[in-house]
């Protein structure tokens, strides 16, 4: 049966899952600061906002298989090309949501923050980003689930992760092996989605909203 491999090799699947998580989290950890920088620049510098959005949007339209093949000659095999690909593809939803979230914050509140004597950095850190956080976190959630999906490419370039099960399964004509990889990836993506939805409810804005509706 298709589930045989999954049930008989839980230790292997578990190990690859942990590797998969590690790759995905590492990619997100690199992608997020980059996206924050790009997003903040895009919000503050109006003239280059649209060009930035176009570029990150265009990157996302390149087929991932083509992208990784394109990266191999210069980056070799392994973790490097995988991470580069994941970081690039993560930008689209991260930057878009950071920009949307920040633009959506009420101008009057930002001016009040300035008016009480916050420095520009304090306005950003204490008011602007916290208020945009729900939208930003929604971007992180979408990004993390798509990253978990895309990270299977790591299996093709010897970076490890659950992609190994898929590619070796296909290579050896072993559908049960492919199935094991698919099951693990789906569970992982759903778990990540749930976890981030949980985190979203803990943001100050979400708390305030809940408190307001209970009035």
């Amino acid at each position: 049966m298709y589930l045989d491999y999954f049930l008989e090799n839980l230790d292997v699947v578990g190990e690859l899952t942990i590797e998969h998580i590690r790759i995905s989290i590492l990619a997100l950890a690199i992608a997020l600061p980059l996206a924050l920088a790009l997003g903040i620049i895009a919000v503050l510098l109006r003239p280059i906002r649209q060009p930035i959005m176009w570029i990150v949007g265009a990157l996302y339209t390149i087929p991932s298989l083509a992208m990784i093949a394109f990266l191999i000659p210069s980056q070799g095999l392994g973790l490097r090309p995988t991470l580069i690909l994941l970081v690039l593809y993560a930008q689209v939803f991260l930057v878009r949501n950071i920009v949307t979230g920040m633009i959506g914050v009420d101008r009057a509140v930002l001016e009040a923050a300035q008016g009480v004597g916050m420095t520009p950095v304090q306005v950003l850190v204490k008011v602007w980003l916290p208020m945009a956080l729900p939208v930003i976190l929604a971007g992180v959630r979408i990004t993390l689930t798509t990253t978990i999906g895309l990270a299977v490419l790591g299996g093709w370039v010897a970076a490890g992760g659950l992609g190994e099960l898929l590619f070796t399964g296909i290579g050896t004509n072993n559908p049960s092996r492919v199935m094991a990889g698919v099951i693990a990836i789906v569970i992982l993506a759903l778990a990540a989605d749930l976890l981030l939805r949980g985190i979203e409810t803990l943001t100050p804005v979400a708390r305030a909203r809940r408190a307001g509706s209970k009035r």
Partner: protein
């Protein structure tokens, strides 16, 4: 009190004082100190700022909102907490009930009280208020105006208050600055503005042609005459109540005159129909005023 129609520049003027806008020419001084000589955020921490839609930080609880400026000034927690409670008390919000609420859980009037508390937090010598009560219903607005007057009596600071509401300007101001299209048209006490408008614009703005309107802005004190010999049995009005109200009392009671009393009840003058009539004729007041 900066008074004028929309677009006359009163808000712009206000925002130049805390350097949200920078003047293209000229300098602004507070107590003889050019404000551009102080770092802008530093300056703003010394100036209380209240705006119309409260500008409260929706993601922070009431306590945190009020504590914003003390935190920026690095007060320790004990001092900040104490100050927050003191201020919430001052603006009429029992601290125990309110510190842990979010702005979304408050009514518009309560939010504006929090906004006021936040602006007062570091006891700034100067306060800027930009139509703070503009979005409130009439009853709440009147109540908050009374509160502001009471608070101002307790902690006297310089308050620069922007409004387009003449009633509000007259009831709260020591001095009114009337603005139009970016320039100052007239500066004076509320009574001066109402009884001696500098030109037709001011006259229209305050509705000075309408006698009852003027009466609704002139305190009984301004029209009263010396106390006559016999004062028993006459109805009394407060010296700070407006002539319109006094006129109503006079007409309704049919008495020949009213007693004008201070808040403690001592009679300080009288008010007859003649006296009210004299207050109504602008001739004596306006003769020497050329616009």
């Amino acid at each position: 009190m900066l008074l004028g129609p929309s677009g006359c520049g009163k808000t712009t003027l206000l925002k130049m004082i805390n350097r949200i806008y920078e003047p293209t020419s000229g300098t602004i001084e507070i107590d003889g100190l050019d404000i551009t000589s102080i770092d802008a955020p530093e300056l703003r921490r010394q100036i209380g700022y209240v705006i119309q839609q409260t500008g409260l930080f929706p993601h922070m609880k009431v306590g945190a909102n009020v504590a914003v400026v003390p935190k920026l000034l690095h007060w320790d927690n004990a001092r900040t907490d104490e100050r927050v409670r003191e201020l919430l008390d001052l603006v009429g919000l029992p601290p125990d009930d309110y510190v842990n609420r979010y702005p979304t859980q408050l009514s518009g009037g309560e939010q504006q009280r929090v906004g006021l508390a936040r602006a007062l937090a570091a006891s700034p010598p100067t306060m800027l208020m930009d139509e703070p009560f503009g979005a409130l219903d009439a009853i709440t607005r009147t109540r908050l105006q009374d509160e502001l007057r009471r608070i101002h009596r307790r902690i006297s600071q310089t308050v620069l208050f922007v409004t387009h509401d003449i009633e509000e300007a007259v009831s709260l101001a020591d001095r009114i600055v009337v603005m139009r299209e970016g320039s100052i048209v007239q500066v004076g006490t509320p009574l001066q503005i109402v009884s001696e408008p500098a030109n037709d614009f001011v006259s229209d703005l305050v509705g000075a042609q309408d006698v009852l309107r003027r009466f609704s802005l002139m305190p009984a004190r301004a029209a009263m005459e010396p106390l006559p010999e016999h004062v028993n049995g006459m109805p009394a009005v407060d010296a700070d109540s407006f002539l319109r109200e006094a006129l109503g009392v006079l007409v309704e009671s049919g008495a020949p005159y009213l007693l004008v009393t201070e808040q403690d009840g001592t009679a300080v003058g009288s008010l007859s129909m003649n006296a009210i009539q004299r207050a109504a004729s602008p001739s004596g007041n306006q003769a020497d005023h050329v616009s």
